[in-house]
């Protein structure tokens, strides 16, 4: 009833082409951002920030980056964890090796380094595709894992192999409380999400989608595959690299290469499958789902087991988590290949037409 676009006439091209053409959507998104920026810090406690909100924000940023590559450009990548690692370690090196390096600059430079590595490992995509490419990106994953474990220069010769950063601050404001960390990540996410949304509906986004849908046909109509594929790799790994730097700096504080292992790559891939391939919104849904599910299972499974008189230990929960993840992936691929984002848009469509079915 409230969600109608009656009477909203578009009289300029500008208003016809905006990101959210319906006024209610615009209002809703502004309210959401305002709530995230003001409401959440007032309501949530420290545990919620640490366990849910900060991981959710950073992982949705990474999922967003991956979605550009896999969902929009159709180049499947199993090396996301590696690009996150490059971002994190590069940012770390900029921080410790250059005196007075501003945090923001270090994070973005980390992203730039990830871009370079991403483009490097994206070059094979010009020759190979599909499954072969997926395996080629695994090369990035294993090589990077190894490099940060064995080449001591990257970890600044730290004895334990783990690196840590402390006393983060931006423009003189220290980022040490969960509140500050949360807002810092939120700012990054909002900026990058806006940029990504506008990128995928610009001409370069359309090129990516043409390549995804059929690369030979796209090349025939004059889209340069080299440029389109490598730019997708570059943009994607930049965002993923920044997310990796945030994950290391803000969420973990101190980390080892294991934080960016192949499991992380799979986890991010699952996020965008469940959330929705080729959808900015889907990245958020997927990240929320995957961050919250283990916590939810941890709470619910022992209670359920208690009901039927079985004690469920933590190992069992971990295995159940694997099984539920696996089953959900298959379920989504069969029932709704476009993920949660598709369900969301179906819901919106129904609301617009309500009470009529068509």
């Amino acid at each position: 009833m409230l969600y109608r676009e009656n009477g909203q006439f578009k009289t300029t091209y500008r208003s016809d082409q905006q990101v959210f053409p319906i006024a209610q959507d615009r209002i809703a998104i502004w309210l959401l951002v305002a709530f995230a920026a003001i409401g959440v810090p007032l309501l949530a406690d420290e545990y919620l920030f640490r366990a849910i909100f900060i991981p959710f924000l950073i992982l949705s940023l990474a999922a967003l980056g991956l979605n550009i590559l896999v969902g929009y450009c159709g180049q499947i990548s199993l090396g996301t964890g590696a690009f996150m690692a490059v971002g994190a370690y590069a940012a770390y090196n900029f921080m410790v090796r250059i005196d007075g390096m501003p945090l923001l600059a270090a994070l973005l430079l980390g992203g730039v380094c990830a871009t370079v590595v991403g483009v490097l490992f994206g070059i094979p995509s010009l020759r190979i595709k599909g499954l072969y490419l997926a395996v080629a990106t695994l090369a990035a994953q294993f090589f990077v894992d190894w490099a940060f474990l064995r080449i001591k220069w990257f970890t600044n010769y730290s004895a334990s192999g783990s690196v840590s950063v402390a006393n983060l601050s931006i423009f003189g404001i220290p980022i040490n409380t969960p509140h500050a960390k949360y807002l810092f990540c939120l700012a990054f996410l909002v900026v990058f999400a806006m940029a990504a949304k506008n990128l995928v509906r610009s001409h370069i986004g359309r090129e990516w989608m043409a390549i995804r849908d059929m690369d030979v046909a796209a090349a025939v109509i004059g889209i340069r595959p080299v440029y389109a594929k490598l730019s997708a790799f570059a943009v994607s790994s930049f965002i993923v690299g920044v997310a990796g730097a945030l994950w290391g700096f803000v969420h973990l504080g101190s980390w080892e290469p294991a934080a960016f292992s192949i499991d992380r790559s799979f986890q991010l891939l699952f996020m965008i499958i469940i959330g929705g391939l080729g959808s900015i919104m889907g990245s958020f849904f997927g990240a929320a789902f995957i961050v919250v599910l283990p916590i939810f299972l941890n709470q619910v499974l022992p209670a359920l087991g208690h009901l039927v008189g079985v004690t469920i230990d933590t190992a069992m929960i971990a295995h159940a988590e694997l099984m539920i993840f696996g089953a959900l992936i298959v379920f989504f691929l069969i029932v709704e290949p476009h993920g949660l984002a598709r369900l969301w848009s179906i819901g919106k469509e129904k609301m617009r037409l309500w009470p009529f079915p068509h």
């Binding site: 499947i76 499954l131 997926a134 059929m214 690369d215 699952f270 992936i329 691929l333």
Partner: protein, 309 residues
């Protein structure tokens, strides 16, 4: 020279074991166009089943004969793999017919997670032993030719022999039997195969069962070598570059790819790895594959990929 040959031989043996896992990938890819990421999880589940059944069966039936227990456990594990194959066909593949390769790949990733979880829930997640009586003592070859001879692990030798026998068996099965011909027909063209009366569903169950059998053999061999635990499913990640190097559609390719990567890994670890920090085994195969793919996008022995609009 002696140490070089020893490394070479060790590499060949390891390579043979990689091929064993890689074979599972190739079989399923050939017959259904699905890149089966769950092969590693299948190896783990099969090995877990084998290890636990060989413990449990003597308890259940109250006898104490290791050979009989092993045989029964093997059969029971095989039954389990066939059931898994049937379930996968029923619940997943039949619902995803005609989808793109990427979708199917992700579905098998889901299956992999599910099998990892369910296998460990059913059979426990500690480290178990499989003892099928492979001899463990090393032997020395060419002692009169080189100083000290070449150290060879007898267990590896047996494993390589079993792998070679399995490959020969599977090639015969594919080339000579009616079912094998049907499998190849399905691989060539689903629709054409169906139109001449080959039942797709049954073929898929058969292929997945055969892949389950290969996984079981690989699981038993790897399991008796390394112990059965979660990390066994990571063997599949070592076998991935092997398949891609050999070409996804070629059984001989899987073998030769395995040998190349096995040897390359060991030699590079000894001769290059020592200079740049060690542990380069982890990525050597992948990086090698990356360069080969740049030259031959379909792998060494794969069928040429033709793009049509």
């Amino acid at each position: 020279m002696g140490s070089f040959l020893e490394t070479l031989l060790g590499g060949l043996m390891t390579g043979m074991l990689y091929s064993l896992v890689a074979l599972g990938f190739v079989l399923i890819y050939k017959a259904s166009g699905v890149f089966n990421f769950a092969q590693g999880a299948m190896v783990l589940s099969a090995a877990l089943a084998m290890a636990r059944f060989s413990e449990w069966i003597p308890e259940w039936l109250g006898f104490d004969n290791k050979v009989l227990a092993n045989v029964l456990a093997f059969c029971l594990a095989m039954v389990m793999m066939v059931m898994a194959a049937w379930l996968i066909e029923r619940l997943v593949l039949s619902k995803l017919v005609n989808q793109e390769g990427i979708t199917l790949l992700m579905a098998t990733l889901g299956i992999a997670y599910f099998m990892d979880g369910s296998g460990q829930t059913l059979f426990g997640s500690d480290i178990y032993k499989i003892d099928v009586g492979l001899p463990k003592d090393p032997i020395f070859l060419f002692e009169n030719v080189f100083q000290g001879g070449i150290l060879v692990n007898k267990e590896d030798l047996y494993a390589a022999a079993i792998a070679a026998a399995l490959v020969a068996l599977l090639s015969l099965f594919f080339q000579k039997t009616a079912t094998g011909r049907a499998l190849r027909a399905v691989a060539d063209d689903h629709q054409a195969a169906q139109s001449i009366g080959i039942p797709l569903n049954r073929i898929w169950v058969i292929v997945w069962s055969v892949a389950g059998f290969v996984a079981l053999v690989a699981g038993v061999i790897w399991g008796s070598k390394l112990g059965v635990q979660f990390s066994l499913s990571l063997v599949a990640l070592k076998a991935l570059p092997v398949v891609i190097l050999g070409g996804l559609t070629s059984v001989p390719g899987a073998i030769i790819g395995g040998l190349i990567i096995g040897v390359g890994e060991k030699l590079s670890e000894v001769y290059i790895g020592s200079q740049i920090g060690g542990g380069i085994e982890i990525w050597f195969g992948y990086v090698l594959v990356l360069f080969v793919l740049l030259v031959r996008p379909q792998g060494l022995f794969g069928e040429k990929i033709i793009d049509r609009v």
